[in-house]
Subunit: 288 residues, 2 copies
Protein backbone atom coordinates (compact mmCIF):
# COMPACT_ATOMS: atom_id res chain seq x y z
CA UNK A 1 0.00 0.00 0.00
CA UNK A 2 0.91 3.63 -0.57
CA UNK A 3 2.14 5.25 2.62
CA UNK A 4 -0.25 7.49 4.50
CA UNK A 5 0.56 11.17 5.06
CA UNK A 6 -1.19 14.40 6.02
CA UNK A 7 -2.89 14.67 2.61
CA UNK A 8 -4.44 11.20 2.68
CA UNK A 9 -8.22 11.20 2.17
CA UNK A 10 -10.15 8.74 4.30
CA UNK A 11 -13.08 6.59 3.17
CA UNK A 12 -14.96 3.96 5.15
CA UNK A 13 -17.79 1.51 5.08
CA UNK A 14 -20.12 1.62 8.08
CA UNK A 15 -22.50 -1.17 9.03
CA UNK A 16 -23.20 -3.75 11.65
CA UNK A 17 -21.87 -6.37 11.35
CA UNK A 18 -19.09 -5.38 8.98
CA UNK A 19 -16.67 -8.25 9.56
CA UNK A 20 -17.10 -9.78 6.10
CA UNK A 21 -17.16 -6.63 4.01
CA UNK A 22 -15.18 -6.87 0.78
CA UNK A 23 -15.09 -3.08 0.46
CA UNK A 24 -11.69 -2.33 2.09
CA UNK A 25 -9.95 -4.84 -0.18
CA UNK A 26 -11.70 -3.58 -3.32
CA UNK A 27 -11.28 0.15 -2.75
CA UNK A 28 -7.73 0.02 -1.40
CA UNK A 29 -6.63 -2.12 -4.36
CA UNK A 30 -8.11 0.46 -6.74
CA UNK A 31 -6.39 3.35 -4.90
CA UNK A 32 -3.11 1.50 -5.01
CA UNK A 33 -3.47 0.66 -8.70
CA UNK A 34 -3.99 4.33 -9.56
CA UNK A 35 -1.57 5.60 -6.88
CA UNK A 36 -4.29 7.75 -5.28
CA UNK A 37 -3.66 9.18 -1.81
CA UNK A 38 -6.72 7.54 -0.26
CA UNK A 39 -7.26 4.90 2.39
CA UNK A 40 -10.43 2.88 3.01
CA UNK A 41 -11.34 1.27 6.34
CA UNK A 42 -14.25 -0.85 7.62
CA UNK A 43 -16.04 0.51 10.69
CA UNK A 44 -18.55 -1.32 12.87
CA UNK A 45 -21.14 1.32 13.76
CA UNK A 46 -24.43 1.24 15.65
CA UNK A 47 -24.84 5.00 16.20
CA UNK A 48 -25.28 6.29 12.65
CA UNK A 49 -25.92 9.84 13.78
CA UNK A 50 -22.60 9.94 15.67
CA UNK A 51 -20.70 8.43 12.75
CA UNK A 52 -22.09 11.08 10.40
CA UNK A 53 -21.24 13.85 12.91
CA UNK A 54 -17.70 12.50 12.86
CA UNK A 55 -17.61 12.45 9.07
CA UNK A 56 -18.80 16.07 9.02
CA UNK A 57 -16.15 17.17 11.55
CA UNK A 58 -13.27 15.28 9.93
CA UNK A 59 -12.63 17.31 6.82
CA UNK A 60 -10.70 14.64 4.95
CA UNK A 61 -13.31 11.94 5.67
CA UNK A 62 -14.21 12.03 2.01
CA UNK A 63 -16.47 9.09 1.35
CA UNK A 64 -18.65 6.61 3.17
CA UNK A 65 -20.21 3.38 1.99
CA UNK A 66 -23.27 2.54 4.04
CA UNK A 67 -24.52 -0.96 4.47
CA UNK A 68 -27.05 -2.95 6.50
CA UNK A 69 -28.77 -1.89 8.76
CA UNK A 70 -28.09 1.83 8.18
CA UNK A 71 -29.12 2.48 4.56
CA UNK A 72 -32.41 4.09 5.50
CA UNK A 73 -31.55 5.89 8.76
CA UNK A 74 -28.45 7.54 7.29
CA UNK A 75 -30.69 9.60 4.99
CA UNK A 76 -31.67 11.71 8.03
CA UNK A 77 -28.13 12.96 8.58
CA UNK A 78 -27.02 14.09 5.13
CA UNK A 79 -27.61 17.55 3.62
CA UNK A 80 -28.71 16.61 0.12
CA UNK A 81 -30.30 13.58 -1.55
CA UNK A 82 -31.33 13.38 -5.23
CA UNK A 83 -35.06 12.92 -5.90
CA UNK A 84 -34.53 9.42 -7.30
CA UNK A 85 -32.79 8.30 -4.11
CA UNK A 86 -35.55 9.82 -1.97
CA UNK A 87 -38.02 7.77 -4.02
CA UNK A 88 -35.93 4.64 -3.60
CA UNK A 89 -35.93 5.35 0.12
CA UNK A 90 -32.38 4.26 0.94
CA UNK A 91 -28.81 5.22 0.06
CA UNK A 92 -25.51 3.38 0.20
CA UNK A 93 -23.08 6.26 -0.34
CA UNK A 94 -22.21 9.56 1.35
CA UNK A 95 -19.77 12.00 -0.22
CA UNK A 96 -18.24 14.87 1.75
CA UNK A 97 -18.23 17.88 -0.59
CA UNK A 98 -16.74 20.96 1.07
CA UNK A 99 -18.99 21.40 4.10
CA UNK A 100 -21.87 19.29 2.80
CA UNK A 101 -22.69 15.62 3.06
CA UNK A 102 -24.33 14.38 -0.15
CA UNK A 103 -26.23 11.09 0.00
CA UNK A 104 -26.85 8.86 -2.99
CA UNK A 105 -27.39 5.28 -4.04
CA UNK A 106 -25.29 3.26 -6.48
CA UNK A 107 -27.12 -0.08 -6.36
CA UNK A 108 -29.65 0.76 -9.07
CA UNK A 109 -27.08 2.22 -11.47
CA UNK A 110 -24.74 -0.65 -10.64
CA UNK A 111 -27.42 -3.13 -11.70
CA UNK A 112 -28.27 -1.19 -14.87
CA UNK A 113 -24.58 -1.03 -15.81
CA UNK A 114 -24.24 -4.79 -15.23
CA UNK A 115 -27.10 -5.38 -17.69
CA UNK A 116 -25.91 -2.89 -20.31
CA UNK A 117 -22.27 -4.02 -20.15
CA UNK A 118 -23.43 -7.59 -20.70
CA UNK A 119 -25.40 -6.61 -23.80
CA UNK A 120 -28.86 -7.09 -22.32
CA UNK A 121 -31.54 -5.12 -24.16
CA UNK A 122 -34.10 -3.46 -21.90
CA UNK A 123 -35.95 -1.01 -24.12
CA UNK A 124 -39.26 -2.48 -25.27
CA UNK A 125 -38.84 -5.52 -23.02
CA UNK A 126 -40.98 -7.05 -20.29
CA UNK A 127 -39.21 -7.28 -16.98
CA UNK A 128 -40.21 -9.59 -14.17
CA UNK A 129 -38.84 -8.58 -10.79
CA UNK A 130 -38.93 -11.01 -7.87
CA UNK A 131 -39.01 -9.16 -4.54
CA UNK A 132 -39.99 -5.62 -3.57
CA UNK A 133 -37.52 -4.83 -0.79
CA UNK A 134 -34.64 -2.33 -0.69
CA UNK A 135 -32.59 -3.64 -3.62
CA UNK A 136 -35.73 -4.12 -5.70
CA UNK A 137 -36.73 -0.50 -5.09
CA UNK A 138 -33.31 0.75 -6.23
CA UNK A 139 -33.28 -1.35 -9.40
CA UNK A 140 -36.95 -0.79 -10.24
CA UNK A 141 -36.70 3.00 -9.98
CA UNK A 142 -33.44 3.07 -11.93
CA UNK A 143 -34.82 0.96 -14.78
CA UNK A 144 -38.14 2.81 -14.81
CA UNK A 145 -36.42 6.20 -15.01
CA UNK A 146 -33.47 5.37 -17.25
CA UNK A 147 -34.79 2.90 -19.82
CA UNK A 148 -37.79 2.48 -22.11
CA UNK A 149 -38.86 -0.87 -20.72
CA UNK A 150 -42.27 -2.12 -21.92
CA UNK A 151 -43.66 -3.38 -18.63
CA UNK A 152 -42.26 -4.00 -15.16
CA UNK A 153 -44.02 -6.76 -13.22
CA UNK A 154 -43.38 -7.05 -9.51
CA UNK A 155 -43.95 -10.15 -7.41
CA UNK A 156 -43.49 -10.47 -3.65
CA UNK A 157 -44.97 -12.48 -0.81
CA UNK A 158 -45.02 -9.35 1.35
CA UNK A 159 -48.23 -7.65 0.19
CA UNK A 160 -47.56 -4.34 1.96
CA UNK A 161 -44.05 -4.00 0.60
CA UNK A 162 -45.26 -4.91 -2.87
CA UNK A 163 -48.11 -2.41 -2.76
CA UNK A 164 -45.85 0.34 -1.50
CA UNK A 165 -43.28 -0.08 -4.26
CA UNK A 166 -46.00 -0.34 -6.90
CA UNK A 167 -47.65 2.88 -5.71
CA UNK A 168 -44.34 4.72 -5.47
CA UNK A 169 -43.25 3.61 -8.96
CA UNK A 170 -46.56 4.68 -10.44
CA UNK A 171 -46.30 8.07 -8.72
CA UNK A 172 -42.62 8.66 -9.42
CA UNK A 173 -42.14 7.28 -12.93
CA UNK A 174 -44.00 6.93 -16.26
CA UNK A 175 -43.28 3.21 -16.54
CA UNK A 176 -46.03 0.59 -16.90
CA UNK A 177 -46.09 -1.26 -13.60
CA UNK A 178 -47.92 -4.48 -12.73
CA UNK A 179 -47.84 -6.33 -9.46
CA UNK A 180 -49.04 -9.56 -7.92
CA UNK A 181 -48.48 -12.02 -5.10
CA UNK A 182 -46.49 -15.22 -5.47
CA UNK A 183 -48.55 -18.12 -6.71
CA UNK A 184 -47.66 -20.81 -9.20
CA UNK A 185 -50.24 -19.32 -11.52
CA UNK A 186 -48.93 -15.75 -11.38
CA UNK A 187 -45.40 -16.95 -11.83
CA UNK A 188 -46.15 -19.07 -14.89
CA UNK A 189 -48.23 -16.29 -16.51
CA UNK A 190 -45.53 -13.73 -15.83
CA UNK A 191 -42.76 -16.04 -17.02
CA UNK A 192 -44.57 -16.53 -20.32
CA UNK A 193 -44.22 -12.89 -21.27
CA UNK A 194 -41.01 -11.96 -19.39
CA UNK A 195 -37.89 -11.10 -21.39
CA UNK A 196 -35.69 -10.33 -18.39
CA UNK A 197 -36.10 -11.86 -14.92
CA UNK A 198 -34.41 -10.14 -11.99
CA UNK A 199 -34.24 -11.86 -8.61
CA UNK A 200 -34.09 -9.24 -5.84
CA UNK A 201 -34.94 -11.66 -3.02
CA UNK A 202 -32.36 -13.39 -0.82
CA UNK A 203 -33.62 -16.77 -2.00
CA UNK A 204 -30.63 -18.93 -3.00
CA UNK A 205 -28.13 -16.98 -0.91
CA UNK A 206 -25.50 -18.81 1.11
CA UNK A 207 -26.08 -20.91 3.24
CA UNK A 208 -29.49 -21.72 1.71
CA UNK A 209 -28.00 -22.36 -1.68
CA UNK A 210 -30.45 -25.09 -2.68
CA UNK A 211 -33.41 -22.78 -3.26
CA UNK A 212 -34.79 -20.98 -6.30
CA UNK A 213 -38.09 -19.25 -6.93
CA UNK A 214 -38.48 -20.33 -10.54
CA UNK A 215 -39.21 -23.91 -11.60
CA UNK A 216 -36.85 -24.67 -14.53
CA UNK A 217 -39.83 -25.74 -16.63
CA UNK A 218 -40.86 -22.10 -16.94
CA UNK A 219 -37.63 -20.94 -18.61
CA UNK A 220 -37.42 -20.08 -22.30
CA UNK A 221 -33.97 -19.93 -23.94
CA UNK A 222 -34.44 -16.37 -25.24
CA UNK A 223 -34.90 -15.03 -21.70
CA UNK A 224 -32.20 -13.40 -19.59
CA UNK A 225 -31.88 -13.97 -15.83
CA UNK A 226 -30.14 -11.59 -13.47
CA UNK A 227 -29.74 -12.55 -9.80
CA UNK A 228 -28.64 -9.88 -7.30
CA UNK A 229 -27.44 -12.62 -4.92
CA UNK A 230 -23.67 -13.07 -5.31
CA UNK A 231 -22.85 -15.62 -2.63
CA UNK A 232 -22.61 -18.16 -4.19
CA UNK A 233 -21.34 -16.62 -7.41
CA UNK A 234 -23.68 -18.95 -9.30
CA UNK A 235 -26.98 -19.39 -7.50
CA UNK A 236 -29.29 -22.31 -8.15
CA UNK A 237 -31.50 -19.92 -10.17
CA UNK A 238 -28.60 -18.97 -12.44
CA UNK A 239 -27.30 -22.51 -12.76
CA UNK A 240 -30.72 -23.86 -13.80
CA UNK A 241 -31.34 -20.97 -16.17
CA UNK A 242 -27.95 -21.50 -17.79
CA UNK A 243 -28.56 -25.21 -18.23
CA UNK A 244 -31.83 -24.34 -20.01
CA UNK A 245 -29.83 -22.21 -22.44
CA UNK A 246 -30.65 -18.78 -20.97
CA UNK A 247 -28.21 -15.90 -20.73
CA UNK A 248 -27.39 -15.20 -17.09
CA UNK A 249 -25.92 -12.18 -15.29
CA UNK A 250 -24.44 -12.91 -11.87
CA UNK A 251 -25.02 -10.55 -8.93
CA UNK A 252 -21.33 -10.02 -8.50
CA UNK A 253 -21.38 -7.80 -11.59
CA UNK A 254 -23.82 -5.44 -9.86
CA UNK A 255 -21.74 -5.60 -6.70
CA UNK A 256 -18.58 -4.63 -8.59
CA UNK A 257 -20.35 -1.81 -10.42
CA UNK A 258 -21.91 -0.28 -7.31
CA UNK A 259 -18.44 -0.23 -5.72
CA UNK A 260 -16.91 1.24 -8.89
CA UNK A 261 -19.52 4.01 -8.92
CA UNK A 262 -18.80 4.77 -5.24
CA UNK A 263 -15.10 4.86 -6.06
CA UNK A 264 -15.77 7.41 -8.81
CA UNK A 265 -17.87 9.58 -6.49
CA UNK A 266 -15.14 9.48 -3.82
CA UNK A 267 -12.11 10.06 -6.06
CA UNK A 268 -13.44 11.80 -9.17
CA UNK A 269 -11.43 9.30 -11.23
CA UNK A 270 -12.61 6.48 -13.52
CA UNK A 271 -12.68 3.25 -11.56
CA UNK A 272 -10.21 0.50 -12.55
CA UNK A 273 -13.06 -2.00 -12.86
CA UNK A 274 -10.82 -4.87 -13.93
CA UNK A 275 -8.71 -4.52 -10.79
CA UNK A 276 -11.80 -4.29 -8.60
CA UNK A 277 -13.35 -7.37 -10.25
CA UNK A 278 -10.18 -9.38 -9.71
CA UNK A 279 -10.11 -8.48 -5.99
CA UNK A 280 -13.78 -9.36 -5.53
CA UNK A 281 -13.27 -12.72 -7.20
CA UNK A 282 -10.19 -13.47 -5.09
CA UNK A 283 -11.99 -12.52 -1.90
CA UNK A 284 -15.10 -14.53 -2.73
CA UNK A 285 -12.95 -17.53 -3.64
CA UNK A 286 -11.12 -17.07 -0.36
CA UNK A 287 -14.37 -16.90 1.66
CA UNK A 288 -16.00 -19.89 -0.01
CA UNK B 1 2.18 -1.06 4.48
CA UNK B 2 0.14 -3.96 5.78
CA UNK B 3 -3.10 -4.31 3.87
CA UNK B 4 -6.25 -3.06 5.53
CA UNK B 5 -9.12 -5.40 6.28
CA UNK B 6 -12.26 -5.57 8.43
CA UNK B 7 -10.23 -6.05 11.62
CA UNK B 8 -8.02 -3.01 11.14
CA UNK B 9 -8.07 -0.59 14.09
CA UNK B 10 -8.07 3.08 13.18
CA UNK B 11 -6.08 5.84 14.92
CA UNK B 12 -5.85 9.50 13.98
CA UNK B 13 -4.39 12.82 14.93
CA UNK B 14 -6.85 15.71 14.97
CA UNK B 15 -5.81 19.35 14.89
CA UNK B 16 -5.93 22.47 12.80
CA UNK B 17 -3.73 22.86 10.87
CA UNK B 18 -2.45 19.30 10.63
CA UNK B 19 -0.57 19.48 7.33
CA UNK B 20 2.89 19.09 8.87
CA UNK B 21 2.14 16.44 11.47
CA UNK B 22 4.80 13.75 11.75
CA UNK B 23 2.38 11.42 13.52
CA UNK B 24 1.07 9.38 10.56
CA UNK B 25 4.62 8.54 9.46
CA UNK B 26 5.76 7.66 13.00
CA UNK B 27 2.79 5.54 14.04
CA UNK B 28 2.33 3.72 10.72
CA UNK B 29 6.03 2.82 10.62
CA UNK B 30 5.73 1.35 14.12
CA UNK B 31 2.59 -0.63 13.18
CA UNK B 32 4.34 -1.95 10.10
CA UNK B 33 7.48 -2.88 12.00
CA UNK B 34 5.46 -4.95 14.48
CA UNK B 35 2.95 -6.14 11.86
CA UNK B 36 0.02 -4.75 13.86
CA UNK B 37 -3.35 -4.43 12.16
CA UNK B 38 -3.64 -0.68 12.73
CA UNK B 39 -3.71 2.36 10.49
CA UNK B 40 -3.10 5.98 11.47
CA UNK B 41 -4.41 9.00 9.57
CA UNK B 42 -4.15 12.78 9.98
CA UNK B 43 -7.46 14.64 10.17
CA UNK B 44 -7.98 18.39 9.91
CA UNK B 45 -10.75 19.12 12.43
CA UNK B 46 -12.39 22.33 13.68
CA UNK B 47 -15.45 20.75 15.33
CA UNK B 48 -13.91 18.76 18.18
CA UNK B 49 -17.27 17.71 19.59
CA UNK B 50 -18.29 16.19 16.26
CA UNK B 51 -14.97 14.40 15.85
CA UNK B 52 -15.33 12.85 19.30
CA UNK B 53 -18.92 11.83 18.55
CA UNK B 54 -17.56 10.08 15.48
CA UNK B 55 -14.85 8.35 17.47
CA UNK B 56 -17.47 7.14 19.95
CA UNK B 57 -19.73 5.81 17.18
CA UNK B 58 -16.97 4.12 15.20
CA UNK B 59 -16.12 1.15 17.35
CA UNK B 60 -12.71 0.46 15.82
CA UNK B 61 -11.62 4.12 16.07
CA UNK B 62 -9.20 3.07 18.76
CA UNK B 63 -6.92 6.01 19.42
CA UNK B 64 -6.71 9.72 18.85
CA UNK B 65 -3.78 12.08 19.17
CA UNK B 66 -4.98 15.60 19.83
CA UNK B 67 -2.96 18.63 18.91
CA UNK B 68 -3.28 22.41 18.71
CA UNK B 69 -5.77 24.02 19.14
CA UNK B 70 -7.91 21.22 20.64
CA UNK B 71 -5.92 19.95 23.65
CA UNK B 72 -8.08 21.79 26.19
CA UNK B 73 -11.53 21.65 24.58
CA UNK B 74 -11.33 17.91 23.92
CA UNK B 75 -11.39 17.28 27.68
CA UNK B 76 -15.12 18.14 27.65
CA UNK B 77 -16.01 15.22 25.40
CA UNK B 78 -14.25 12.27 27.02
CA UNK B 79 -15.67 10.09 29.80
CA UNK B 80 -12.67 9.80 32.09
CA UNK B 81 -9.54 11.85 32.79
CA UNK B 82 -6.93 11.03 35.44
CA UNK B 83 -6.54 13.59 38.24
CA UNK B 84 -3.04 14.53 37.09
CA UNK B 85 -4.30 15.39 33.63
CA UNK B 86 -7.16 17.42 35.06
CA UNK B 87 -4.55 19.38 37.03
CA UNK B 88 -2.43 19.85 33.94
CA UNK B 89 -5.54 21.13 32.20
CA UNK B 90 -4.97 19.62 28.76
CA UNK B 91 -4.65 16.20 27.14
CA UNK B 92 -3.10 14.99 23.90
CA UNK B 93 -4.48 11.44 23.77
CA UNK B 94 -7.88 9.75 23.68
CA UNK B 95 -8.21 5.98 23.91
CA UNK B 96 -11.45 4.17 23.01
CA UNK B 97 -11.90 1.45 25.65
CA UNK B 98 -15.07 -0.58 25.07
CA UNK B 99 -17.76 2.11 25.17
CA UNK B 100 -15.68 4.72 26.98
CA UNK B 101 -13.39 7.46 25.78
CA UNK B 102 -10.43 7.87 28.14
CA UNK B 103 -8.44 11.11 27.95
CA UNK B 104 -4.83 11.43 29.05
CA UNK B 105 -1.63 13.34 28.41
CA UNK B 106 1.73 11.89 27.39
CA UNK B 107 3.79 15.10 27.13
CA UNK B 108 4.83 15.15 30.78
CA UNK B 109 5.76 11.48 30.93
CA UNK B 110 7.45 11.82 27.55
CA UNK B 111 9.67 14.57 28.96
CA UNK B 112 10.42 12.64 32.15
CA UNK B 113 11.35 9.56 30.12
CA UNK B 114 13.65 11.67 27.92
CA UNK B 115 15.47 12.86 31.04
CA UNK B 116 15.66 9.46 32.73
CA UNK B 117 16.73 7.63 29.55
CA UNK B 118 19.53 10.17 29.12
CA UNK B 119 20.80 9.56 32.65
CA UNK B 120 19.72 12.91 34.09
CA UNK B 121 19.33 12.83 37.88
CA UNK B 122 16.30 14.71 39.17
CA UNK B 123 15.93 13.59 42.79
CA UNK B 124 17.43 16.18 45.12
CA UNK B 125 18.05 18.63 42.27
CA UNK B 126 17.00 22.22 41.63
CA UNK B 127 15.04 22.62 38.45
CA UNK B 128 14.59 25.90 36.61
CA UNK B 129 11.66 25.94 34.23
CA UNK B 130 11.33 28.69 31.62
CA UNK B 131 7.68 29.22 30.66
CA UNK B 132 4.41 28.37 32.37
CA UNK B 133 2.15 27.50 29.40
CA UNK B 134 0.62 24.17 28.39
CA UNK B 135 3.82 22.12 27.97
CA UNK B 136 5.29 23.63 31.15
CA UNK B 137 2.18 22.57 33.10
CA UNK B 138 2.47 18.99 31.83
CA UNK B 139 6.17 18.71 32.65
CA UNK B 140 5.97 20.55 35.97
CA UNK B 141 3.14 18.38 37.32
CA UNK B 142 4.79 15.20 36.08
CA UNK B 143 8.13 16.03 37.70
CA UNK B 144 6.50 17.28 40.91
CA UNK B 145 4.42 14.12 41.27
CA UNK B 146 6.89 11.50 40.04
CA UNK B 147 10.29 12.62 41.30
CA UNK B 148 11.87 13.86 44.52
CA UNK B 149 13.16 17.12 43.06
CA UNK B 150 14.52 19.61 45.60
CA UNK B 151 12.96 22.80 44.25
CA UNK B 152 11.12 23.77 41.07
CA UNK B 153 11.53 27.39 40.03
CA UNK B 154 9.22 28.82 37.41
CA UNK B 155 9.86 31.90 35.33
CA UNK B 156 7.51 33.47 32.78
CA UNK B 157 6.80 36.93 31.38
CA UNK B 158 3.08 36.20 31.60
CA UNK B 159 2.34 36.95 35.27
CA UNK B 160 -1.17 35.45 35.27
CA UNK B 161 -0.08 32.22 33.66
CA UNK B 162 2.85 31.96 36.03
CA UNK B 163 0.71 32.60 39.09
CA UNK B 164 -1.89 30.09 37.98
CA UNK B 165 0.62 27.27 37.49
CA UNK B 166 2.36 28.10 40.78
CA UNK B 167 -0.92 28.00 42.69
CA UNK B 168 -2.03 24.79 41.00
CA UNK B 169 1.29 23.05 41.67
CA UNK B 170 1.22 24.08 45.33
CA UNK B 171 -2.35 22.81 45.67
CA UNK B 172 -1.89 19.61 43.69
CA UNK B 173 1.59 18.42 44.67
CA UNK B 174 3.95 18.38 47.67
CA UNK B 175 6.87 19.83 45.70
CA UNK B 176 8.69 23.01 46.69
CA UNK B 177 7.69 25.59 44.11
CA UNK B 178 9.17 29.04 43.54
CA UNK B 179 8.20 31.52 40.87
CA UNK B 180 9.27 34.86 39.48
CA UNK B 181 9.09 37.11 36.45
CA UNK B 182 11.84 37.35 33.87
CA UNK B 183 14.54 39.85 34.77
CA UNK B 184 18.27 39.61 34.33
CA UNK B 185 18.55 39.49 38.11
CA UNK B 186 16.08 36.66 38.63
CA UNK B 187 17.62 34.68 35.83
CA UNK B 188 21.17 34.96 37.13
CA UNK B 189 20.12 34.11 40.71
CA UNK B 190 18.12 31.12 39.51
CA UNK B 191 20.89 29.95 37.20
CA UNK B 192 23.34 29.97 40.08
CA UNK B 193 21.45 27.24 41.91
CA UNK B 194 19.82 25.38 38.99
CA UNK B 195 20.96 21.82 38.25
CA UNK B 196 18.56 21.25 35.39
CA UNK B 197 17.15 23.95 33.09
CA UNK B 198 14.07 23.17 31.04
CA UNK B 199 12.95 25.56 28.31
CA UNK B 200 9.19 25.26 27.83
CA UNK B 201 8.82 28.48 25.83
CA UNK B 202 8.77 28.65 22.01
CA UNK B 203 11.88 30.88 22.09
CA UNK B 204 14.38 29.54 19.56
CA UNK B 205 11.82 27.67 17.48
CA UNK B 206 11.97 27.80 13.71
CA UNK B 207 11.89 30.34 12.05
CA UNK B 208 13.18 32.45 14.96
CA UNK B 209 16.19 30.22 15.48
CA UNK B 210 18.55 32.99 16.57
CA UNK B 211 17.02 33.50 20.01
CA UNK B 212 17.74 32.06 23.47
CA UNK B 213 16.59 33.11 26.91
CA UNK B 214 19.86 32.34 28.70
CA UNK B 215 23.04 34.36 28.25
CA UNK B 216 25.87 31.78 27.85
CA UNK B 217 27.80 33.50 30.65
CA UNK B 218 25.31 32.03 33.14
CA UNK B 219 26.01 28.39 32.26
CA UNK B 220 28.01 26.06 34.52
CA UNK B 221 29.40 22.83 33.01
CA UNK B 222 27.74 20.58 35.61
CA UNK B 223 24.26 21.79 34.59
CA UNK B 224 21.92 19.96 32.21
CA UNK B 225 19.74 21.80 29.67
CA UNK B 226 16.58 20.34 28.16
CA UNK B 227 14.73 22.27 25.45
CA UNK B 228 11.21 21.16 24.45
CA UNK B 229 11.62 22.93 21.08
CA UNK B 230 12.60 20.39 18.41
CA UNK B 231 12.62 22.48 15.25
CA UNK B 232 15.52 23.04 14.84
CA UNK B 233 16.85 19.81 16.36
CA UNK B 234 19.55 21.85 18.06
CA UNK B 235 18.26 25.21 19.25
CA UNK B 236 20.53 28.14 19.98
CA UNK B 237 20.03 27.43 23.71
CA UNK B 238 21.25 23.84 23.30
CA UNK B 239 24.15 24.78 20.99
CA UNK B 240 25.43 27.41 23.40
CA UNK B 241 25.00 25.16 26.42
CA UNK B 242 26.84 22.37 24.65
CA UNK B 243 29.72 24.64 23.72
CA UNK B 244 30.00 25.61 27.41
CA UNK B 245 30.41 21.92 28.23
CA UNK B 246 26.87 21.25 29.51
CA UNK B 247 24.93 18.08 28.91
CA UNK B 248 21.95 18.79 26.62
CA UNK B 249 18.72 16.91 25.91
CA UNK B 250 17.00 17.85 22.66
CA UNK B 251 13.21 18.30 22.48
CA UNK B 252 12.91 15.63 19.85
CA UNK B 253 13.50 13.01 22.57
CA UNK B 254 10.36 14.19 24.38
CA UNK B 255 8.48 14.27 21.09
CA UNK B 256 9.46 10.67 20.30
CA UNK B 257 8.57 9.49 23.81
CA UNK B 258 5.15 11.14 23.88
CA UNK B 259 4.38 9.41 20.57
CA UNK B 260 5.74 6.10 21.87
CA UNK B 261 3.52 6.37 24.97
CA UNK B 262 0.49 7.08 22.77
CA UNK B 263 1.41 4.08 20.64
CA UNK B 264 1.49 1.90 23.76
CA UNK B 265 -1.90 3.19 24.95
CA UNK B 266 -3.40 2.54 21.49
CA UNK B 267 -1.92 -0.89 20.83
CA UNK B 268 -1.09 -2.34 24.25
CA UNK B 269 2.33 -3.29 22.86
CA UNK B 270 5.80 -1.92 23.72
CA UNK B 271 6.68 0.81 21.25
CA UNK B 272 9.56 0.19 18.82
CA UNK B 273 11.22 3.43 19.91
CA UNK B 274 14.23 3.00 17.64
CA UNK B 275 12.01 2.74 14.57
CA UNK B 276 9.97 5.74 15.66
CA UNK B 277 13.14 7.80 16.30
CA UNK B 278 14.50 6.97 12.86
CA UNK B 279 11.26 8.08 11.18
CA UNK B 280 11.15 11.34 13.14
CA UNK B 281 14.75 12.12 12.21
CA UNK B 282 14.11 11.33 8.53
CA UNK B 283 11.01 13.50 8.47
CA UNK B 284 12.67 16.41 10.26
CA UNK B 285 15.64 16.20 7.89
CA UNK B 286 13.21 16.12 5.01
CA UNK B 287 11.30 19.18 6.27
CA UNK B 288 14.40 21.24 7.06
Amino acid sequence: MRSIDCNTQVCAVIGNPIAHSLSPAIHNAAYEFLDLNFVYVACPVEDVKGALAGMRAIKNFRGMSVTIPHKIEVMKYVDEIAAVDRNIGSINTVVHEQDKLIGLGTDGMGALKALVDNGVAIDGKNILMLGAGGVARAIAFTLALNTRLKELSLIDINENQLQELTTDLKAGTDAVIKSGGVSENTLSTEMEKADLIINCTPIGMHPNVDASLIPPGLFRPEQVVFDVVYTPLETKLLAEAKSCGLKTIPGVEMFINQAALQFEHFTGVDAPVGVMRRVVMEQLDHQS
